[in-house]
């Protein structure tokens, strides 16, 4: 406490709550506004004596509580009705009685924690360990069993001599000046201090990345990866058990699977064109089906109307039109064979398109061909 540093306040100590209450009343009456009373515990009636306004912290609690209930209801409603509605136990999606407990808890949580933080940070301007009163004999006294008054130097009516006399007049003892520590001078609220913000940023980064790592990786690390590595042989996975290393076993030679009809004309386009006959009748449902399959599998190259004018034109050898005389004169079997076996750069579609669907496509191609080359009779 060097004498060169500026004065913070003049302090005085009192021995009983009555004495300090009386002194506080007198101080307020004398017109001092920047003064404070320090007591080891709250003394009843002091607010009135110091002419303090009733604390408004209750309003914060009410606001934060309302925020809690609203955010809970909003979150639950959004989840239950919009984000992922699930049928649970035959209950309605918005099962309001079941939402009451969580809403209540969030209300209490936000109201309690946020209003306490508000009080400490905004009303008390804490954390602040650099106050001039700290580490003074005055503080040591009022933290145990004495009662004190400090009239601050920045009070408009402050005058060291008159304050000392005033304190003496209200029977204060140990009247002492308290000065600012040099390093205390600029220390007020330090929430926006750069160092504090830097620490905060580091903490945020560590917490955020830790949470991310935990939620996305740590929970599934071995040995907790049980269901990710299941002891079962999935289709097309290898198996060490078999000499050829294939998990899927090929059928025994000369056998065919139930319901499977082998295609006898692989590589025999001419025969297929001669021998195969479309087994489906050109009914409306068949043509609709053919259209759907055509638009799915054929149109990407051959175009929506079979004109060979898709967006792929120019990227590859150009897909041919299906409306050419050549194709129009093909038999149904030839078209079927090309779909089944492929031709030039066109691969086989046998695995994607079922047999019946291929025949339906053939019907639809006929429809397209006829539409592009309509005779007058068709228009009637």
């Amino acid at each position: 406490m060097s004498t060169s540093s500026p004065l913070y306040a003049i302090t005085a100590l009192f021995d009983s709550p009555d004495a300090v209450l009386h002194a506080a009343e007198e101080t307020a009456k004398a017109g001092y506004t920047k003064f404070d009373v320090h007591t080891p515990y709250p003394v009843h009636g002091m607010d009135h004596a110091m002419r303090l306004k009733t604390s408004r912290i209750g309003i914060f609690a009410f606001v934060f509580g309302s925020l809690g209930v609203l955010s809970a209801v909003a979150l639950i409603t959004w989840v239950a009705l919009h984000e992922y509605p699930l049928v649970i136990g035959g209950k309605p999606f918005w099962a309001w009685p079941a939402f009451v407990p969580v809403s209540f808890e969030l209300t209490v949580l936000l109201a309690s924690v946020l209003s306490t933080v508000t009080m400490i940070v905004f009303y008390f301007k804490f954390p602040n360990n650099a106050h001039p009163l700290h580490d003074t004999p005055y503080m040591k006294a009022v933290s145990s069993d004495k009662f004190g008054i400090a009239i601050q130097a920045n009070d408009p009516k402050f005058d060291e001599k008159s304050v000392r006399e005033f304190l003496k007049s209200v029977h204060g003892s140990a009247i002492e000046p308290v000065a600012y520590d040099v390093e205390d001078l600029d220390h007020g609220q330090q929430l926006l201090d750069a160092r504090f913000l830097a620490v905060l940023a580091v903490v945020m980064f560590v917490v955020a990345s830790g949470t991310y790592f935990t939620l996305n990786y740590a929970m599934y690390l071995p040995p907790f990866d049980f269901m990710m590595e299941q002891n079962k042989l999935k289709a097309q996975k290898p198996s060490e058990l078999f000499r050829d290393g294939k998990g899927m076993r090929p059928p025994v030679e000369g056998t065919i699977a139930r319901g499977f009809i082998p295609y006898a004309f692989h590589g025999k386009a001419d025969e297929a064109g001669k021998m195969l006959v479309n087994p489906l009748l050109a009914t409306a449902p068949v043509i609709d089906r053919g259209k759907a399959k055509y638009l799915t599998f054929c149109s990407p190259c051959h175009g929506n109307f079979g004109a060979g004018d898709s967006r792929l034109r120019g990227q590859f050898p150009n897909p041919p039109t299906l409306n050419s005389d050549k194709v129009r004169n093909w038999s149904d079997g030839s078209i079927f064979h090309v779909i089944t076996d492929g031709q030039n750069v066109m691969p086989s579609y046998a695995s994607q398109i079922s047999r019946d669907d291929r025949w339906a496509i053939v019907h639809y191609i006929r429809v397209l061909q006829r539409a592009q080359n309509a005779k007058e009779a068709d228009l009637r």
Binding site: D36, V37, I57, A95, F99, S112, N128, A218, F224
Partner: protein, 453 residues
């Protein structure tokens, strides 16, 4: 009965003490090297804790099948211990919040201690309901609602999610409440100590508190508001724990009286635990003049009251099970009293309802050995209450084909040890490092503490 004089306020301490004496009496254990007895106790509890942690680690490695539960008794020691510890945690908030709102001045001497025990007990409960209970505890994060790529949230209809919210809220609010009360005391310790390290720690923890009346004014209002929030919160927490059972369709679990009954039971067991620990602490730290016989007697009276409420609930359950006429209900309650777990049921009834009736007599209420014994029995009884509710109900429910028996394994006792080890270790550390009685609050209610105008 002439000894009682109704015209005067009952004194707070048994002999006149000055505020400075309060400070030194309470801060003394913090300033000296712990006694040999403390080290022995600490050794025992930390060994229990270590044993419990080893059990948990082995379970994590091998699977929770190490515990004894089965189909149909899929909950047993884990949830019994969870409910037990949550229950213990209820005395603290009751003392600190509800008795505060009722302006029971005697609560000031024991509030700090009870609040600390609340926090420790809720921590124990949280451990049981996650690592000792879940089949895949490493996925416990799924119980929290957080945005994720599956767009899947928690089931807000499930009572277990309510539990997550309730226990976490309770833990957080209790911590805030407890810490708020600690701030002035930490500031007092800061100003008392001569040790530089302690001074630094207390300075940081006390956040720069300086006993300013401009702060006290907000502080007192905030304390009142927190008490106002904590009161419904404490009811809601054990209510929600009771919902864990009562929302089910199982006869014996689905009983509408569960919410108030569980709350009463929780307060009952919590008071028994606080009373037991305080009896030891006041003796060890020579605080008999601050934590007086009157405190213990009042706690015993609360135990008598809540114990009788629990007895009322047992009787109502029995009566209404009979009155319902439903064969499932009737069977379950007969099965409790006469079935394979009848021993547990009658242990529960005798410990919770019968023994506590000794407290009708003032002499027994004031006898330390008797009240200590009854307190222990109450906690045994309350543990068995949860055991009876969980195990007997599940072991024989709707389909006789699926009935079963539960018998605990050594690992069940291992996790149980974890709870007691953790709790008492934390209690021992607490009495060693923090003021176990709220100094500022005691000073505020002593004779002559307030102005007589």
């Amino acid at each position: 009965m002439t000894s009682l004089d109704y015209t005067i306020d009952p004194p707070i301490t048994t002999r006149a003490v000055t505020p400075a004496e309060i400070d030194s009496a309470i801060a003394a254990p913090l300033d000296r090297f712990p006694s040999k007895r403390w080290w022995i106790a600490f050794g025992v509890t930390s060994t229990m804790l270590a044993g419990g942690l080893a059990t948990i680690a082995y379970m994590l490695y091998e699977g929770i099948g190490l515990l004894g539960f089965n189909q149909p008794v899929a909950w047993a020691f884990d949830i019994t211990n969870f409910v037990f510890w949550v229950g213990i945690g209820h005395a603290g908030t009751l003392i600190s919040a509800i008795l505060f709102l009722m302006r029971q001045r005697w609560r000031n001497a024991i509030a700090r201690f009870a609040e600390a025990m609340t926090i420790f007990a809720v921590l124990c409960a949280a451990i049981f309901v996650t690592v000792a209970h879940l089949g895949r505890p490493w996925l416990a994060g799924y119980l929290f609602p957080y945005p994720n790529q599956h767009a899947l949230w928690v089931n807000f209809i499930s009572p277990l999610v309510w539990d997550v919210f309730a226990v976490n809220t309770y833990l957080t609010v209790s911590l805030v409440f407890w810490y708020l009360g600690l701030i002035p005391d930490l500031a007092t310790l800061r100003d008392r100590t001569t040790n530089a390290v302690k001074k630094l720690v207390y300075s940081v923890l006390s956040l720069g508190w300086r006993f300013s009346n401009r702060h006290w004014s907000h502080y007192e209002r905030m304390y009142l508001i927190l008490a106002g929030f904590a009161t419904p919160l404490v009811l809601s927490v054990h209510t929600i724990v009771s919902f864990d059972f009562a929302v089910s369709v199982n006869p014996g679990w689905h009983t509408t009286i569960f919410p108030p009954y569980f709350v009463a039971g929780a307060v009952f067991s919590g008071f028994a635990m606080v009373q037991n620990v305080l009896i030891i602490v006041r003796k060890m730290f020579k605080l008999e003049h601050i934590i007086t016989m009157k405190h213990l007697e009042n706690m015993n009276k609360v135990m008598l009251l809540t114990g009788s409420m629990v007895g009322y609930a047992y009787a109502m359950e029995m009566f209404v099970a009979w009155y319902s006429g439903s064969q499932f209900e009737r069977f379950v309650f007969l099965n409790r009293a006469l079935g394979p777990y009848a021993w547990a049921y009658w242990t529960m009834v005798s410990c919770n309802v019968v023994f506590v009736q000794l407290f009708w007599f003032k002499r027994l209420r004031l006898s330390i050995p008797i009240m200590f014994a009854v307190g222990v029995l109450v906690n045994v009884g309350m543990w068995f209450e949860r055991y009876v509710i969980i195990v007997t109900t599940l072991s024989r429910d709707f389909l006789p084909s699926s009935w079963g028996h539960f018998s605990p394994t050594i690992f069940d006792f291992g996790i149980m040890m974890l709870g007691f080890g953790l709790f008492f270790t934390l209690v021992l550390l607490f009495v060693r490092f923090l003021p176990s009685i709220a100094m500022a609050e005691i000073k505020a209610v002593m004779d002559g503490a307030q102005a007589k105008h």
